[in-house]
């Protein structure tokens, strides 16, 4: 949806080419027209220009989130600001993208949109950290060597994972604790979770590397999933709609970008990384610069670079066999 007919034409023609005819696109030059299309067509994804006359993109996002909660929503703008981005994400947009101006830019946007369309939500966890799975959050906390308590709940159960300076030290789920509780929590197919400030548990029941714990939990979750018929645990049915109180308590940070690549810069995993090549190049340069710094000063081996910005915290980790980049964004405006 865009009120600039030329841009609409270019973008639909370009995406039609790039999708090889797989995408069926509908154009709307106003919010009313977009809503009319949604009444009569099954739509997977809506791309909205936020600067529209009468009913602007953010207002439309609110309406779409209310009337079509399952719809994936992306906002495009020619004038991106952090405030606008936060407003759009807070009102239900999955992505906030600057309008492309070059053919490479159109291609990048197309890749992001296709990724979003084909992306399948991790079963059931929603509301608190949209599109980010439990294991992603735990991984982010451990990579950042943070201390926090991750509280997880669904209709029947409530549990906690305690992370201290990047180490998983304790987990509880009802009467259980330790690795068993951790694995069961990671195997839950629906619910809500939120990050709380760290408080020391009365006991510590977990030792060992978080990578191993997450891998083991993933293995157990796969086993449980293969044993239980899918219909017995319908994620949506089990997942309560986020309550007003829960919305108020929602954390104000989200994982905005993740990239894992080999030491040679070959991408192994990426999530919402707009320019993988640029990020891998950046990681390789960080690695080189860290090597030079290590030669200059007797400080040992480089571990990671942490970058604090007004609304982002980024981590670049350089290991001997892989490099990791994680960016966490704040949903609240920086002072």
């Amino acid at each position: 949806m865009d009120d600039e007919p030329d841009f609409l034409r270019v973008v639909t023609e370009t995406f039609a080419d790039l999708s090889g005819g797989r995408w069926v696109m509908h154009r709307a030059n106003s919010a009313d027209a977009a809503l009319e299309i949604l009444k009569s067509q099954k739509i997977d994804l809506v791309v909205v220009d936020i600067n529209m006359p009468t009913l602007d993109g953010v207002q439309l996002l609110r309406i779409l989130s209310r009337r079509h909660p399952e719809l994936k929503k992306v906002t495009l703008t020619g004038f991106a600001t952090e405030a606008k981005r936060n407003e759009c994400l807070a009102n239900g947009a999955e992505l906030f993208i600057e309008k492309p101006r070059t053919s490479q830019g159109f291609r990048s946007v197309f890749v992001m949109l296709e990724e979003l369309v084909t992306w399948t939500p991790k079963k059931g966890f929603q509301g608190m950290l949209r599109q980010v799975g439990l294991s992603d959050v735990i991984q982010m906390e451990c990579l950042g060597r943070n201390s926090s308590v991750l509280e997880i709940q669904n209709r029947q159960l409530r549990g906690r994972v305690y992370i201290e300076e990047g180490n998983i030290i304790h987990a509880t789920l009802a009467d259980e604790h330790g690795e068993k509780a951790f694995q069961k929590l990671l195997a839950l197919t629906g619910g809500e979770f939120k990050l709380l400030p760290f408080e020391a548990p009365e006991i510590r029941t977990i030792e060992g590397s978080w990578e191993f714990l997450l891998m083991e939990a993933a293995r157990v979750a796969d086993e449980l999933a293969s044993q239980a018929p899918a219909e017995t645990v319908p994620a949506e049915a089990e997942t309560p709609a986020p309550s007003a109180a829960a919305e108020e308590a929602a954390p104000d940070v989200v994982v905005a970008e993740t990239l894992i690549c080999s030491a040679k810069g070959e991408p192994m995993y990426q999530w919402q990384c707009a320019d993988v090549l640029a990020r891998t190049t950046m990681l390789q340069t960080v690695s080189q610069q860290a090597g030079l710094l290590a030669q200059s000063l007797p400080l040992g081996t480089f571990e990671r670079l942490e970058i604090l910005q007004a609304s982002n915290r980024s981590l670049a980790l350089i290991g001997h066999d892989r490099m990791v980049f994680v960016r966490v964004a704040s949903l609240t405006l920086a002072p």
Partner: protein, 113 residues
Amino acid sequence: MNEALAHIFSDCASAPGAFGCGVRLPDRTSRVKSFHPDCTTGSLEKTLLHLTSATSMLASHDLAGHRMAWQFTGGKLFVTTRADGALFCLITRGGADAGDFFDQMTARFLVSD
């Protein structure tokens, strides 16, 4: 070195694990101060050079931060840059966390021009 900067350098000596500090100015000159015999003036100047290069590279990737921390197994380099391009670095050794201390120094450095 102006007075404000001299005071910052002097106060950096009390940072947890203080090892050295330095500033690289927009005219490409640098001022450094060592707090430990293992931290030489030459190594501090080289460090500032590498940090300037790295910070510039990160800025080109929209990753210029108000605080950057390069963590090594045996210490940490805290870095910030001023609007005029001046770069300030505090180096600490050991496991002491000087993050809050560095933020206080940064607040003074940003208005020290």
